[in-house]
Symmetry: C2
Subunit: 127 residues, 2 copies
């Protein structure tokens, strides 16, 4: 698929698609080809790549909205709160990342296909 097509699917812009996909390409999960007939294709075993891999490929962005802003703030009150919550935030993040590790792209694809099939059956029954 071209960036243009993908952008259409996601209601966004081709350049945004390229920017995002760049991370996945560098990780080797997709390939891109320039020129006529070019575009994007999958370049990995979907059952071998997890959401954690994708998350990392996209630059491992912040998962927590709050959390620790400064490692060692000058403010003693802030230091106190940090001491009381750093491990809590770390644990919550670790839990989440562990879950990302358990979901492979192949699983997602299977689940997706199953739901699409169910959706189609539904449409046929009540037309």
């Amino acid at each position: 698929m071209t960036s243009e097509e993908l952008a259409g699917c996601m209601m966004t812009n081709p350049v945004v698609v390229r920017r995002t996909m760049a991370g996945l390409r560098e990780a080797g999960f997709v390939r891109s080809a320039k020129g006529h007939g070019g575009g994007w294709e999958i370049a990995c075993d979907l059952s071998a790549v997890t959401l954690k891999d994708v998350y990392d490929a996209l630059g491992a962005p912040q998962l927590m909205a709050m959390g620790i802003h400064l490692e060692s703030p000058a403010c003693l009150v802030e230091q106190t709160v940090n001491r009381s919550l750093t491990t809590a935030f770390a644990e919550a993040e670790a839990l989440l990342i562990d879950r990302l590790r358990t979901v492979s792209l192949a699983q997602l694809a299977d689940d997706f296909r199953a739901h699409v099939a169910a959706h189609k059956r539904n449409l046929e029954r009540k037309p």
Copy 2:
């Protein structure tokens, strides 16, 4: 303390302080007084109020930076990812909130005082 003084401590603006403290006042954790000699004072038993209470009083803002944006998006791919991660996000959030529940303001105050005392001893030893 006045909003002005508090703002000075936090390197921010008195109005921002009032905005934020408004939540704590409605929850009954602090009291405010207008006029000469007015300002803010604590109005609760610090050992009875936890960070979870404070979090709620501040409007329970988003803890997770990502998570589920739309409950039922039109996009079937988005639905698939949501199915695979809603519980994970919910669990991580629950874990965090449980930790907030375990920290009372009294604990924070004690820890704060202990560290301030240690800091002072340090200064006296090497002047």
